[in-house]
């Protein structure tokens, strides 16, 4: 279901304290997301690519993920150039493409790719449960942390339930077509999954209550910050700050 393909690597980034990785990924993403000047975005792309290189993630495994994101961004390119106000650059029938629209689309494309690459390098390289623990020790709201951990733990169980139901449909000769019967059947399937997940959630909660759950979760393993982790944190936050300076000050026009 979720393969966590980038987790088992060996690189400087993999060895970095998960909390440092989470903080840097968060800070860098926020700065990039709020930037709109190319003088800041171009260096940001370069930095993000070097993160990927530092994490030693192979080009072949990174590409499919980037393509998936850019598939969604492609949709924006169909609309934004024609719907933004500005100086007409070209015409397509009765549609006028504007310079501003194209710039706007380009910024979004660059920003999205930069953030995804950063997340791949820093966050996808740790198991989801480690991310949960890192977020918890960074004092993120407990509910969010539990949502992440439980969603990940039970998505496999729900996926297995989905697989069983699909098989049960198949062995009774169900063959999806473009008709109302097919849509209705799929609606039943989704409905059943929701009901089953709800039941599952109640049972898990009951099992936790039986083991004395009072609303607290405990961490067995403590994170350990090494000097190199501290240095890396300062360095990476400085890099992030530089991108911010390029965006919000007029050091370079």
């Amino acid at each position: 279901m979720i393969e966590e393909g980038f987790v088992h690597g060996d690189s400087v980034i993999h060895r970095l304290d998960p909390r440092v990785r989470t903080v840097v990924a968060g800070a860098f993403s926020i700065v990039v997301a709020t930037s709109d000047r190319f003088v800041a975005l171009v260096p940001a792309v370069i930095v993000a690519v070097s993160f990927l290189l530092l994490a030693r993630l192979s080009f072949r495994s990174v590409m499919p993920r980037l393509l998936m994101v850019n598939g969604l961004i492609l949709l924006l390119w169909f609309f934004l150039p024609f719907t933004s106000e500005g100086e007409p650059l070209f015409t397509l029938g009765s549609l006028k493409g504007t310079m501003e629209g194209i710039m706007y689309s380009t910024t979004i494309t660059v920003k999205s790719n930069t953030i995804i690459m950063t997340l791949m390098a820093f966050v996808a390289t740790m198991p989801i449960f480690t991310l949960g623990r890192a977020l918890r020790s960074l004092h993120m709201p407990h509910k969010i942390v539990h949502l992440i951990s439980f969603a990940y733990r039970y998505i496999h169980v729900i996926h297995a339930e989905y697989g069983r139901m699909i098989n049960a449909m198949k062995i009774r000769g169900f063959c999806p077509r473009n008709n109302l019967y097919t849509y209705k059947t799929y609606a039943y399937l989704v409905g059943m999954l929701l009901v089953k997940s709800y039941d599952r959630a109640s049972r898990v909660r009951a099992a936790m209550l039986c083991r004395g759950f009072k609303g607290n979760f405990y961490d067995l393993s403590e994170f350990f910050m090494k000097t190199s982790d501290r240095l890396a944190l300062v360095l990476l936050l400085l890099v992030t700050a530089c991108i911010g300076l390029l965006q919000w000050t007029r050091i370079i026009y």
Partner: protein, 254 residues
């Protein structure tokens, strides 16, 4: 009868799910220290409901529940009791929610107020006693069905319960894992009740068999001669089985 060794007592307990017909009707049940009880009955006869009532996950519509000779009234009473009774769920996926085996087994002891170091120690000890050494850092959702069941049992035993309630502990397990669970149950010095449809398993691990029918519990002690299919040789020759109770059919009121 001596009242001091009474662990669980249900008196005239009735229960029904909203909008459904009654599941338990004026049910009486007692568990005494040292007793090992097997509970059988058709699907939907209220066996799991009975366990959930004992744990306070459900509340009876009427009747009295007494556990460790204290009347159970509200969530607070049950919370104290849950620390001393272990319930093994039918589906191990309901029980194992933590990332790793060690964290899941340590969860109960931590809730009992043990320190992290103590909880870790207890968890490791429990895993060791069940022959699950080396499972500590395994990811719970990647275990096999049998492994999940054994680890669930470990999560319950790690709390050092005085009573065990096991809901179909062998359903879906192969004979090897079932044998391991039988060996574990023979070893533990805890009173237990379990639900099972596996007659061989019940015969090997319990002293008493109760049947559940029409929302009530009956003691099933008498031996009823019956024919049965055999997987072993000499099935046609008259013979006895070494089990203490080998027949549970045609449940009747005593």
């Amino acid at each position: 009868m001596d009242e001091n060794n009474l662990l669980i007592k249900l008196e005239g307990v009735s229960f029904g799910y909203p909008g459904g017909k009654p599941v338990l009707k004026e049910l009486f049940f007692e568990l005494r220290a040292g007793e090992k009880i097997g509970l059988i009955g058709p699907n939907g006869s209220g066996k799991t409901t009975l366990f959930h009532l004992i744990m306070g996950l459900l509340r009876p519509l009427s009747g009295k529940i007494e556990i460790f000779r204290h009347p159970m009234k509200d969530e607070k009473d049950f919370r104290a009791v849950r620390q001393r009774i272990g319930l093994l769920f039918q589906d191990a996926d309901d029980q194992l929610f933590s990332p790793t085996v060690l964290e899941d087994v340590a969860f109960g002891p931590l809730n009992q107020g043990k320190s992290v170091a103590e909880a870790k120690h207890i968890a490791k000890e429990t895993l060791h006693s069940l022959g699950l050494e080396g499972f500590e850092s395994r990811i719970t959702h990647k275990l096999s069905g049998g492994e999940k069941k054994l680890v669930s049992l470990a999560t319950v035993l790690a709390m050092k319960p005085e009573v065990l309630l096991l809901d179909e502990p062998t359903t879906g397990l192969d004979s090897e894992t079932t044998e391991r669970i039988i060996a574990i149950l023979k070893e533990v010095d805890i009173s237990y009740v379990f639900i099972s449809h596996n007659m061989d398993f019940i015969a090997q691990t319990t002293d008493k068999i109760y049947g559940m029918m029409d929302g009530q519990i009956f003691l099933e002690e008498e031996k009823i001669p019956h024919t049965h299919a055999h997987a072993h040789g000499y099935g046609k020759v008259p013979h006895t089985h070494s089990y203490r109770n080998n027949a549970v059919r045609n449940l009747k009121k005593p």
